[in-house]
Amino acid sequence: MFDTVLVANRGEIAVRIIRACREMGLASVAVFSDLDRLSPHVLAADKAVRIGPAPASESYLRGDHLIEVALSEGAGAIHPGYGFLAERASFAAAVEKAGLVFIGPSPESIQAMGDKTEARRRMAEAGVPIIPGALEPTSGPEEAAETARELGFPVLLKPVAGGGGKGMRVVSDEDELPGAFESASREAESAFGKSAIYVEKYLARPRHIEIQILGDQSGAVVHLGERECSIQRRHQKLIEESPSPVLEPADREAMGLAAVQAARAVDYRGLGTVEFLYEDGEFYFLEMNTRLQVEHPVTEFVTGLDLVQWQIRVALGESLDFSQEDVSFSGHAIECRITSEDADQGFLPATGCIDRLEIPSGPGVRWDGGIRAGSEIGLHYDPLLGKLIVHAATRTAAIARMKRALGELVIHGVETSVPFHLRVMDEDDFGKGDFTIAYLEDHPELLRPSEGDVRLLALVAALLEHGAWGRVGAAGIKELDGRKLSAWQTSGWPWQT
């Protein structure tokens, strides 16, 4: 049992967890690096402790230090959020060894699902369909080529550890394989500390559909429906929604059942997500994320459940007080991830100081944010600034609502993904639900302003410049920037009287 939770994370997810604690009457302890002294999660928590300098390796990733802080602050549990230490089995084990509660699955479940080849073996045994490919790590480029020839190109090289698209390479022919293998291994080593790679068949145009599951400590497991996450860039999700625009009730039931089987196969407890690729009516196990997911709010909207509170309640030993039959879905929810990335420059990471922030509100709108006016956005951490989530009766109404809410959101001082999201909400294929994970390649026009916007910008700039000259020009010829102005240049805005 515990009454205080240390939140071993930062940004929007730390704020989300602190909010859940506050509503449950639990005390929260935030931790912060030197860069985050004034971040929203620090301001929101009951207590806050400095844990080191800016680099994550010297702050948010120092598991032993975080456990010491929890012990000295009287926190009985640690919530890891997502990213950082959330899927490190060794951290979960160390937390338990220190006599604290790890708010998440057991170290054994994390271990089994974290090793992607072991997970594939276990899923195959449990009867969950997997993507054709290797069940063991690949020894090197030669063996990879052999497996690839058996499967047929294109193939996908994937790190045995980790996720989130890092270290993954699509290889379309044998010539590319050695270079891709080298670069995938290098990226895997740098991101996860393990360079091991395995080979699976590359599905070119699947959809990414995942199932949220929730289990308690007695072994009861339910699924909470799907999330459609096909709008991605380089395997990083950008937009998620529930329900999927394509899934029939029978598909949902089959995938839900497979996800529950997957969870049972690793004695899962707490919140987890079983990711599938879906193509031509078939689905294949991709991986299981053994943690709270970024996109959990869309499921919260359509099920009416507070997933973070349930995660904590399970950790407190509570049993699920509902069964699969009790789970029902209402309306349609969409989430846009608002990141400090400039879509118009190929999603380049952007930096800056947020000097202006206006948060949307009104019916069916939720903002889960980790920023405030004055926040400095650097390159030390994940570029996720916040998430905009909407809920409405139908998908069409949810898209209209998202468009409205994105229009109200103002973030000035750093480039964000907002313009991209606005364009997607207006795009026909998205509107029809007709897309795959290749959506961005199919729609390069989403990565630049429309011609209408360019015309509007030109018009606005010309009028502002015209006005800047006009204001000094009431008395005739004046000087500005050392230049003489003639009368026609200073005529101001004649249609405005």
Binding site: K166, S183, R186, E187, S190, A191, R234, D344, Q345, G346, L348, P349, T351, R356, L379, D382, P383, L406, G407, L409, V410, I411, H412, E415, T416, V418, P419, H421, L422, R448, P449, D453, V454, R455, L456, L457, A458, L459, V460, A461, A462, L463, L464, E465, H466, G467, A468, L480, D481, W488, Q489, S491, P494, W495, Q496
Partner: protein, 183 residues
């Protein structure tokens, strides 16, 4: 009716002609009825364009240069009036010979790979370098087609934001400048 005031407005890679007269505004010949700018707060202006309401964050970054944020994206827009345009076009250097295009690091990171050699001819969009930042590899591509000029970095080197990585010579720089031709 008075003559319209004409501006040449550059947004990204395109230049549009905007004419302002007593009736309203034309952009590349297309007429819009406009009300505004109306100041709506510090650096905030409201426009009604053909009845549609637009809010723009605007800062003047020097003569004729505006930093505008519209629909969530910032744009640096340059406005040149007709007379300045005529004078610029008459200047002997011409508008094209502006020197090499500099490829700068968009963020601090590590140069993982340099994919081209000095003197190589590349098309716009060709991959030039791979820079790793935040554990993701980002491919930097040629902003213009042309010849690769001086390369300032090597693989394994860490770079700061905006550091010059390499120079690109657009095709017009391969032409002999008119002055040298006459000698």
């Amino acid at each position: 009716m008075t003559n319209p005031v004409r501006y040449h407005v550059t947004v990204g890679a395109v230049t549009l002609q905007v004419e302002i007269d007593a009736e309203g505004v034309r952009v590349d010949g297309e007429r819009f009825s406009v009300s505004g700018p109306e100041p709506a707060g510090p650096n905030v202006y409201s426009f009604l364009v053909d009845g549609a309401s637009h809010t723009v964050l605007a800062e003047r970054g020097g003569s004729g240069v505006w930093d505008l944020q519209l629909r969530g994206r910032s744009h640096r827009v340059e406005v040149v009036d007709e007379r300045t345009k005529v004078m610029r076009d008459m200047s002997p250097a011409g508008p094209d010979l502006d020197g090499p295009v500099l490829v700068r690091a968009p963020m601090p990171g590590l140069v993982v790979k340099v994919k081209v050699d000095e003197g190589e001819l590349v098309e716009v969009g060709h991959g030039l370098l791979v820079v790793e930042a935040m554990k993701m590899e980002n491919s930097l591509t040629a902003p213009v087609g042309g010849r690769v000029g001086t390369i300032h970095v090597v693989a394994g080197q860490t770079v700061e934001k905006d550091e010059i990585l390499m120079e690109m010579m657009p095709p017009e720089m391969d032409r002999v400048p008119p002055d040298e031709e006459s000698e």
